[in-house]
Amino acid sequence: MSGMLPDAVDILSPSEKEVYIELLALLANSDGALVREEMAALEAFMGRVLLKPEVREETRKQLRSTRDLGELLEKATPNTLKVALRDCVLLAASDGEYHPAEIVVLERIADAAGVGIDVLDQLYDWVTEGWHWLAKGRNIVVMSIAGDKLLFDEENIPLHVRGDITE
């Protein structure tokens, strides 16, 4: 998964990394329910950027308060916005579904980053590819979990065939 390997997040300055983490924290809090998977993912991203312990503590406190997305978007540099967008999509997916409130945040970050809706859609697909990659890793060490077989089964089926439209 992103954050598990050397990455473009390393090009961000310390202050940019703080804005990056603030954006992730806001996304995690946007649907009003911070589940364990999202918390684990957020802690992982904070670890990944080697955030100072005091900044991590501050970030955890922010999870209980409402942040102004517009302010954060103004503070963020173009690279910060792009990397944050990518990792926000991963974070939003971590509990298994994209909440409508999360999608609103993702689209606002994308807009600020100059990233089109078509690319955002490709990012959703990219996250799904990441799930496949993780499932393969589990398969190698023979510890597949519920859902992995479905991922492998659907791997060779075109998206337009395997999907159905709801709502």
Binding site: A40, A93, W133, I145, L151
Partner: protein
């Protein structure tokens, strides 16, 4: 099967039936003592070649975050970075699932700087044998890490991040 949901007139891929395969993986679901044992093994592995690179350290810290350890446990794990435990001590505390996750992520961490030393490879093979897995699995895991690099690059290419 994936479900496509229309939100604001756009499709969003929602893999409803694959929730079990969620990011960030399964580590956070293990009992705390097993997550601690997992992190202890990574602390051992990161020190094995007497050279901790920034790439290895970032993966280590990332996985430590995912493990959701208590502050006291994190402190203890960080002492292991200065005073590494023996491999045998690390293996004693690992269960079957935590051991397999630790093997996978040890491979990921040791390969993060682009090279896997002989000492690292031998340690990975020793962990595999302890788990009663064919040591050849290590090469497959390293190929898997390489595929992960490609996947990450795809994400950066999508966003034109240089």
């Amino acid at each position: 099967m994936l479900k496509l949901k229309m939100i604001k007139n756009r499709r969003v891929v929602i893999p409803v039936l694959t929730r079990g395969a969620m990011l960030p993986d399964t580590l956070h679901e293990l009992p705390r003592d097993e997550r601690f044992a997992y992190a202890k093994l990574l602390a051992y592995m990161i020190n094995i070649d007497d050279e901790v690179t920034i790439d290895e350290m970032t993966v280590f810290e990332q996985r430590l975050g995912t493990a959701l350890l208590s502050p006291a446990q994190r402190k203890m794990i960080r002492t292991y970075l200065k005073e590494p435990p023996t491999l045998e001590e690390c293996l004693e505390g690992l269960g079957d699932v935590s051991g397999r996750l630790a093997l996978r992520d040890a491979a990921l961490m040791t390969a993060a700087d682009g090279t896997v030393d002989e000492d690292e490879q031998l340690a990975l093979e020793k962990i595999a044998r302890h788990l009663k897995i064919d040591a050849k699995i290590v090469d497959r895991l390293l190929d898997w890490v390489s595929a992960g690099f490609d996947w990450m690059q795809d994400g950066l290419d999508l966003l034109n991040v240089e």
